[in-house]
């Protein structure tokens, strides 16, 4: 804790003392009556009140009798009951709730009766039934008889706000939690109150007031009277906080009742934030996921991807038994012992461990774990590579990566423990984003930055202001991909950005994309030194930080130790009880794939890697490799080339730890018990068969080893990178510089099988500046992109205020699979033709 924080807590907090239902209580000044009552265990019914939203006083369900001292100090009762969720506690206040005051009780019953007048009372067909605050409070605080005999107001139902979110206006109690969430928390002011009186309803905002700016959702989003559709990455939260069944999700519609469900806490596998989730399942099937409350990480919010994308693991291509390629060239189901024996035999030959003359011809095995694994799995993969296979060729970074990045990770990230935290982000006076889009790539990181809206300055190094950056009111430091280093270098001296960053507590966030821009990470380090700002690396995938800690990079041993340093290798070898670790420097993922493609690698062990995510032709590389072992949850394209396929568990069916970008260990237990085993357990079997006892059979084994190893000492560490700033490529003729990143909702492998969620993703467009569009002569509003890859991309153009000579396309949205079709990373030149 910093010294300033110490001072703040040491200061005496102003308190007030009040009496609630005869109980005297002392609370900090500014506490709302409803919270003060909670603290002494008095329950006041409520709908609109939510601890993370600003008070609204919209539903009036929380009325209580209040008497407060006036200026002369005489305690005087308010003439009418007051909303306890908007009124702050005062010294000497006397509050009587429904428990002690008939007037309060009467008022609450009256409000409840009023709320129910137009309510359809269709609980039997309502998804909220059984866990509905309105149901519960109508029973506990309402009258048992209704005096209403007239005809109820009806609306058409349900009204799809998007392909995922459905609105039933008849059930709405107009508490405005949803609209307040959208405006205050997510910044997507898509829905609001409309009309008056009995016809008052939640509806979508007027199109003319808030345009989509080319960010239309893909799916059908019916428009309400004012003609706007709902598009937000955080929309699912409104379903969770709606105190009635007015907002429901298409995915969970009519699927179950709360008493059917078993709830297990977990950690989301979708991004590096490590958001706490609750998985609700019935008979071994996940039916829904909700946000769990974790104040230090995700508070009570998660992204729609965290919430809705879970069907991928139970699709029809789920692997249940090991597969072994038979003599007929086809994969056949096999028992675990057979598959392990076959895999070990093949790997032995490929790694040259048979002890026969054939070993001379063996060219070694590479290991590609993929970035979605837990820390334990990552540790097992690298130990398997280094001990069982005797190679440093292991890399989780199946994305754009560089040696500079590895040095950066080894020197600054690995073994550094908890660095910048979510709370630090919220408090930071200035945040600089480089190669990182918080809304698209950071999940709930965006919500924390957004929470500081108005008090925080956000600077972003990007080719243009994305919608997320706009919602943060960010200042653009324009940079063409590849030119980020120069842009970062320019933040110095009296530059306005440099001065902002000097404010204490400022943070520089670098994303994984910066690895593709030579010198950028070195510049970020220099900038941090110059300004005193703290540095945080936020990768996209959930397993990356854990893999960095566990040493699943070619040049990194566990705890950030340098694999090229003899002292570090010796220390690890000693801890592992082996003679030595392989000395020859390892190859990174791209180099491993290139080696396999050119026939200079005999074997591959490959985890959760999706071929279409790679710029290199993985299929061709796999086809060329003699022996491929795949550890996968589903039968993917990799299986087509694999000799042995070992089925492994998805995160919901195993225990493990994700390390989030903060460096926080996010351990989770098995949510659903199945026979499926973790990657590390499969590798433990395989290791034994290869004659190496890796001791990575259980989560506890791995964690014990990691704890014993600890972080690297100074002498064992990798040196910080110091690479000269690279230059962006020059656009010329019809060749433009490619800019691209993954949108949060796109066609990533973990979002398969969820059409309702896919519908809320944003329509893929190619962004060009007006001048560039004119220069290349865009016809019919469409452009075609080509590069050295396997195909082309055709997308409608959205003219955007952005750097000239740059074309931006989403990385894996429908019709825009950049890595596969173009085969290049952002920063490369692509040929852009106007028209098809």
């Amino acid at each position: 804790m910093t010294s300033t924080a110490d001072k703040a807590t040491a200061e005496t907090v102003d308190t007030v003392t009040l009496t609630i239902d005869g109980k005297e209580t002392t609370v900090p000044k500014g506490t709302l009556i409803i919270r003060a009552a909670e603290q002494v265990g008095i329950d006041i019914p409520r709908f609109c009140d939510h601890p993370l939203l600003a008070p609204a006083g919209a539903c009036r369900q929380c009325l209580v009798d209040v008497a407060a001292p006036d200026r002369e100090g005489n305690v005087r009762a308010f003439p009418k009951p007051q909303a306890s969720c908007t009124m702050q506690a005062m010294d000497g206040m006397i509050v009587n709730t429904q428990h002690t005051s008939d007037e309060a009780k009467n008022a609450q019953e009256g409000v409840m009766e009023l709320l129910l007048i137009n309510h359809p009372l269709d609980c039997p067909v309502c998804d909220k039934g059984g866990e509905c605050p309105l149901q519960n409070q109508a029973l506990s605080h309402g009258r048992s008889e209704s005096r209403f005999i007239d005809v109820k107001r009806v609306f058409e139902k349900p009204l799809p706000l998007s392909s995922e979110i459905l609105l039933d206006r008849e059930r709405c109690v107009l508490c405005q939690r949803c609209t307040r969430f959208s405006k205050e928390i997510a910044g997507d002011a898509f829905i609001d109150l409309q009309n008056r009186g009995a016809m008052q309803q939640i509806g979508t905002f007027d199109e003319d007031v808030l345009g989509f700016d080319g960010y239309e959702p893909i799916g059908v989003a019916a428009e309400d009277e004012s003609g706007r559709a709902f598009s937000s990455y955080y929309s699912g939260n409104t379903v969770q906080i709606c105190p009635v069944g007015a907002l429901t999700s298409a995915a969970y519609r009519f699927r179950s009742r709360p008493f059917d469900l078993v709830s297990s806490p977990g950690i989301s596998e979708h991004d590096s934030s490590g958001a706490a989730i609750r998985t609700d399942h019935r008979r071994g099937t996940i039916l829904r996921r909700l946000s769990d409350n974790d104040p230090v990480v995700n508070e009570e919010w998660i992204t729609d991807k965290d919430r809705f994308a879970f069907s991928w693991q139970n699709l029809s291509d789920r692997l249940e038994r090991p597969l072994v390629r038979g003599d007929d060239g086809e994969l056949h189901e096999a028992s675990w012992p057979d598959a392990i024996a076959r895999a070990a035999e093949g790997l032995k030959a490929a790694a040259g461990l048979t002890g026969t003359p054939a070993d001379k011809k063996a060219k070694g095995v590479g290991v590609l774990p993929g970035g979605r694994i837990t820390m334990e799995d990552a540790y097992a993969y690298q130990k398997f590579a280094r001990v069982a296979l005797g190679t440093n060729d292991v890399d989780v970074r199946t994305r754009t990566a560089s040696d500079e990045e590895q040095e950066f990770l080894g020197s600054t990230v690995a073994g550094s423990g908890m660095g910048v935290t979510f709370a630090d982000l919220e408090k930071a006076p200035t945040v600089l984003l480089a190669g990182f889009e918080p809304e698209d790539e950071g999940g709930v990181v965006f919500l924390r930055l957004r929470k500081a809206y108005g008090t925080q300055r956000v600077l972003t190094v990007a080719p243009f202001l994305s919608r997320g950056a706009e919602k943060l009111d960010a200042t653009l430091i324009q940079a063409v991909p590849g030119g980020e280093a120069a842009a970062l270098a320019s933040i110095k001296g009296a530059a306005d950005a440099a001065e902002s960053l000097q404010a204490e507590g400022s943070v520089i966030i670098v994303g994984e994309r910066l690895a593709g821009s030579p010198g950028a990470l070195s510049e970020a380090l220099r900038l941090a030194k110059r300004t005193g700002a703290r540095l945080a690396w936020i990768p996209r995938r959930a397993g990356e930080r854990g893999a960095v800690e566990a040493g699943a990079l070619p040049g990194l041993l566990p705890g950030g130790r340098d694999a090229t340093a003899a002292s570090a290798r010796d220390a690890i070898a000693k801890a592992w009880g082996v003679d030595s670790l392989p000395e020859s420097p390892g190859r990174n993922a791209a180099e491993i794939i290139a080696a396999a493609a050119s026939g200079t690698l005999s074997g591959l062990v490959i985890g959760g890697v999706t071929p279409s995510d790679l710029t290199d032709d993985l299929a061709a590389a796999l086809a060329r490799t003699d022996f491929v072992v795949s550890l996968e949850v589903r039968r993917t394209d990799v299986a087509r080339y694999a000799d042995v396929v070992l089925p492994v568990a998805p995160p919901s069916e195993k225990p493990g730890t994700f390390v989030n970008w903060e460096g926080r260990l996010r351990g989770f237990a098995t949510a659903i018990r199945t026979d499926a085993i973790s990657d590390h357990r499969a590798l433990d079997f395989l290791g034994r068969e290869l004659g190496a006892d890796l001791k990575v059979g259980t989560v506890a084994d791995v964690n014990e080893q990691l704890a014993l190893l600890g972080a690297a000492g100074k002498s064992e560490r990798v040196k910080a990178p110091s690479v000269k700033a690279g230059k962006a490529r020059k656009a010329a003729g019809d060749e433009l510089v490619l800019a691209s990143w993954h949108l949060l909702v796109d066609e990533g492998a973990l979002q398969d099988g969820e059409p309702y969620l896919a519908g809320t993703g944003r329509t893929a467009v190619a962004r060009l500046s007006p001048a560039t569009a004119e220069r290349i002569g865009v016809k019919d509003g469409v452009v075609t992109l080509t590069a050295g890859g396997r195909g082309t991309i055709e997308l409608p153009v959205a003219l955007t205020d952005m750097a000239d000579g740059v074309v931006w396309v989403p990385a894996k949205s429908p019709g825009s699979w950049v890595a596969q079709e173009l085969g290049v990373h952002p920063g490369a030149l692509v040929r852009v033709k106007g028209g098809i």
Partner: protein
């Protein structure tokens, strides 16, 4: 003394007390004492002259009382749409956890019950059911009622889990099998209020177009009574 010994001792003491028990009944006289060994046959003899109550089940089946709690039935509306909306309230009410329900959305192409929701999966496990009828009380649409059928035995466990098709009420003569659209210009409330009393032509037309062989279409109806067509 060890604990078991203690218990043993206490029990023996109690036995001793039991032996000291004296009957409240008056002592029999001499004749009574003489006939005491065969006195029990008196009951048998008396019953020779009383009407028999033995039922000749299964040769002769006697109907149960009208409100007997027998096998459940899932009812239909007059036009053949199912009453069950898949709300799971019956499952919730069941003290024996005998009912399993999964709801789903009605769609334009497949409308099984009035309104948005219907019961896609419906199972009652008769190995668990205690025939208390709480489920019947919970059902908001009167979809679930109990019949008088009591022959609920079987050789397998699976066989005693009744599925939706086993529980659905037989089609009455004028009914049209679901799925088909609701009666035009009605809402679910009209069904609940009992305002829908018969199939209309447009519904028949709809089914005819899609399932010309449906046995509940007027032209395909056989002359046998409905009950015989069931199953």
């Amino acid at each position: 003394m060890s604990e078991p010994d203690d218990v043993w001792k206490v029990n023996r003491e109690r036995d001793g007390e039991a032996q000291r028990f004296e009957s409240n009944f008056p002592e029999n006289g001499a004749v009574g004492r003489a006939f005491a060994p065969v006195a029990g046959f008196g009951v048998t003899l008396r019953n020779f002259f009383r009407p028999t109550v033995t039922e000749q089940y299964p040769d002769k089946k006697t109907p149960a009382m009208p409100r007997y709690h027998g096998r459940h039935q899932l009812n239909r509306y007059a036009d053949g749409l199912e009453k069950c909306i898949g709300c799971e309230l019956c499952a919730w009410a069941c003290p024996a956890d005998a009912i399993y329900v999964e709801g789903d959305s009605n769609t334009e192409d497949a409308q099984y019950s009035p309104g948005e929701r219907y019961g896609r999966v419906y199972q009652i496990n008769y190995l668990r059911c205690i025939f208390c009828g709480l489920c019947i009380e919970a059902c908001p649409t009167r979809a679930l009622t109990m019949t008088n059928e009591y022959e609920l035995a079987g050789p397998t466990r699976e066989g005693l889990i009744y599925e939706k098709q086993d529980l659905l009420a037989p089609m009455q003569d004028a009914m049209l099998a679901a799925p088909h659209p609701m009666v035009p210009d009605t809402v679910d409330d009209d069904y609940y209020r009992g305002d829908v009393t018969a199939v209309v032509d447009s519904q028949i037309e709809w089914v005819r177009e899609r399932r010309p062989d449906d046995p509940t279409l007027p032209e395909n109806r056989s002359t046998e009574p409905a009950e015989a067509r069931r199953g």
